[in-house]
Symmetry: C2
C-alpha cells in the first residue's frame, strides 16, 4: 500500500489535494474553501450553527473505526444537531489536527467518508483548517444550516400534555460499542481476530449512524411543528431530563413503548443486559426525541419511523418511567458508562 | 491559589459554569449557548464563517502564554478572518479539549480572555463543545459574521494597476516570539527569570494581537471597497503570493514603504536581523493586506493606519520587491521559520 508523507505536500498543498474535487451543491454557498472565510446567503432564512470537537481515544478508537467511517460519522453527528433544530443543513467546515503517523492516503480515506456524507445529505464543505498535532487525531466540525424564520425548535418549548416521541430505535449503538470493545480486548489479550457474530445491525449503528433528515422532511411535508426537540447522543434518559429541565416540565415514559430493534433486543439478552437500559442510558443513536401537541396524534400514530413513548407532565410531577411490570420509577441520567461498557 | 478539579463539575456543569454570565449583544443572535445549535438571523445580509484549530505546542506555548491572553488571542485571530472578508463578526463558538492537568480556575482565566475579546469586538459567544483530552490543550473557534449582499471581499479580485496596501505595522509579533523563545531557552538551561528588556510593544504584538475592525469600519464610512483582501497571519510575502495566485496577477513592492514600528526596527537591529525580513516572513501580525483601485488613492493616502506599499502588475511580470538600495528581487514565501526563529 502506498504511503505519501503529509510533509511532502505542505499545509496548503494538503488542503488543495484534499479539496480538489470539492464541488458546491447549494445556491446558499457563495464563497467556499480557499479564502479567509466562507460566505453563505440564507436569503430570508435564519442560519443555524453547531460545532463538535472529536478526539482520538476519547470519542473514537482507531483500533476498530475505519477512517472512512470516522469521516462519515463526524459529519453525520453534526448534521444531527442541525436537524434537531428542525433545520436543514447546508454547509460544513472540517478542521483536523494530525500527527505524522498518518499518511496522505489515510487522510484521503477520512475525506472520502466526509464527502460521502456531504453528498448524501446535500451539504457543501466550505472551509476548515489543517494542522499538525503532536499526538493523536483531532477533528473539529462546524455544521451550518437554514430554517424558515422562527420555525426552529429548541429544547425549551415542551408543555404539559404533549406527546413524547422518538424516531427509529434505540440502544443499538451502545451494544455495537460493547461488542467492539469486547473484541478489541480479546484481540489485545490473545491476538484472536474479531468475531462480530454477524451483528451488522448494531455495528452499523455505531460505526455508520445516520441523521434523521427524513423525519424533519416529514414534519415539513405534514405541517408538523414539534414543541421541543433534541437529538439523542447521550441516551434517551439524559436527553429527556435536559429537555424537561429546559422546558420546566415533567414526563412520564412507558417502557413497553420504547422502540428497540429485534437485533438489539436479542444481542442484549445474549449479553444478559436489559435492552431498555441500553436505550435509556446508551448513547450515540442519533435519533430525535421531540414533543408534539396532542392534536397532532393522528399525523404521527401510523408513521413507522416515529414512536410515541409517553407524555409531558407538570414539573411538580417529576420525571418517571412505568415499567412493563407496571412499576413506576424515577428517571435518572445514568450516562453511557453505567452499563459497564466503554 | 484555589484549584477546583474539572471532574467535580461534570461536562454540563462546566459549560454552565463557564457561560453563566454570558449575555448576547447582537439582535442577530436568536438562540445562543445551550441547545443543539445556535440560531442566527442576518436578515438581508450574507453570513460569513471562518474556523481555526489551535493546538498546544504547535500554535501556542503555555510556558509563556498566559491563559487569559490565549483566550483573547484565539478569538481575535478568528475575527481577523471575518474582517478580512470586509465583514463584521457577530458570533463565535468556542470548543476546547482539556486534560485533567487544567483546573476550573485555569479555564476561567481562558474564558476571561474569550469574554474580553467578545466584549471588545461586540460578538456573542453562542455555542461550543467541551471535552476531556488525553494530553494538551486543544482550542477550536468558529467565527460568524455578516456582510451586506455581495460586499464581501475575496483574495481573487486584484487587478493590474491596483494599489497594494497594508494596515498598521509588520514584523513585531515575530520579534516578540523570538524574544520569548530565547528567554524560555535561557530559563530552561539556567533557571534565570525572563528579561523582556521592556519590549512591551513586540511582546504585546505576539500575546495580545488585535483585529483591524477599525480599518473595515473606515472602508464602510468612506465608501471604499477593496478589490481583494486577506489578513496577514503567515507573513506579508506568503499572503501576497497567495493573493496574486488567486487573482492571477503579479506585484511590485517597495521595501522602504513597508511599515515597521520603531520598536520593531530597533529590536531587530539589536538581534542583527533584517527588520524587512521580519515583516515579509514573520507571521501573526494580523494586519490586513488589500488592493485598491488607483482612483481611491486620495481616500487612503493620509490615513495613518494604512500604508501603500506597491502595486499590482500583470501576471507575466512576476512578483518582485525593490529594495532600499534599488535592487529588484523575486518575492518568495520563506515562511515563519526562515529567519531562524521558532
Amino acid at each position: 500500500m502506498m504511503r505519501t508523507e503529509i510533509g511532502s505536500l505542505g499545509e496548503f498543498g494538503l488542503i488543495r489535494h484534499l479539496t480538489k474535487n470539492n464541488e458546491t451543491k447549494n445556491v446558499s454557498t457563495i464563497v467556499s474553501v480557499g479564502d479567509d472565510a466562507a460566505v453563505i446567503d440564507h436569503a430570508g432564512m435564519q442560519t443555524v450553527i453547531s460545532t463538535d470537537l472529536l478526539l482520538e481515544d476519547i470519542h473514537f478508537d482507531l483500533g476498530y473505526t475505519p477512517l472512512k467511517h470516522l469521516g462519515y460519522k463526524s459529519i453525520v453527528v453534526n448534521l444531527s444537531d442541525i436537524y434537531a433544530m428542525n433545520a436543514t443543513p447546508t454547509q460544513v467546515t472540517v478542521s483536523i489536527g494530525i500527527s505524522n503517523r498518518f499518511s496522505v492516503e489515510a487522510l484521503e480515506d477520512f475525506y472520502e467518508g466526509v464527502y460521502a456524507a456531504c453528498e448524501k445529505y446535500g451539504v457543501d464543505l466550505v472551509g476548515g483548517d489543517t494542522s499538525s498535532s503532536k499526538k493523536g487525531f483531532i477533528i473539529s466540525i462546524t455544521a451550518i444550516g437554514e430554517v424558515p424564520i422562527d420555525k426552529y425548535v429548541t429544547r425549551s418549548g415542551a408543555k404539559k400534555g404533549d406527546l413524547i416521541c422518538v424516531s427509529g430505535d434505540l440502544g443499538g449503538a451502545f451494544l455495537g460499542l460493547t461488542l467492539m470493545e469486547r473484541e478489541k480486548k480479546i484481540f489485545e489479550e490473545t491476538g484472536a481476530q474479531p468475531d462480530l457474530e454477524n451483528q451488522a445491525y448494531i455495528v452499523g449503528r455505531l460505526l455508520k449512524p445516520e441523521a434523521r433528515k427524513d423525519v424533519v422532511e416529514y414534519f415539513a411535508t405534514e405541517g408538523v411543528m414539534p414543541t421541543s426537540m433534541m437529538d439523542i447522543s447521550d441516551g434517551l434518559s439524559s436527553e429527556l431530563l435536559h429537555l424537561c429541565r429546559e422546558s420546566n416540565c415533567g414526563c412520564l415514559l412507558y417502557e413497553d413503548k420504547i422502540p428497540l430493534a429485534e437485533e438489539t433486543r436479542q444481542f442484549a439478552y445474549k449479553l444478559e443486559i436489559d435492552p431498555t437500559a441500553c436505550a435509556l442510558s446508551g448513547g450515540e443513536d442519533y435519533e430525535l426525541v421531540f414533543t408534539l401537541d396532542q392534536s397532532l396524534y393522528e399525523k404521527v400514530k401510523n408513521n413507522p419511523d416515529i414512536s410515541i413513548i409517553g407524555y409531558i407532565t407538570d414539573h411538580t410531577e417529576g420525571k418517571h418511567i412505568i415499567t412493563r411490570g407496571g412499576n413506576k420509577y424515577e428517571l435518572t441520567a445514568q450516562g453511557w458508562n453505567h452499563l459497564g461498557g466503554a
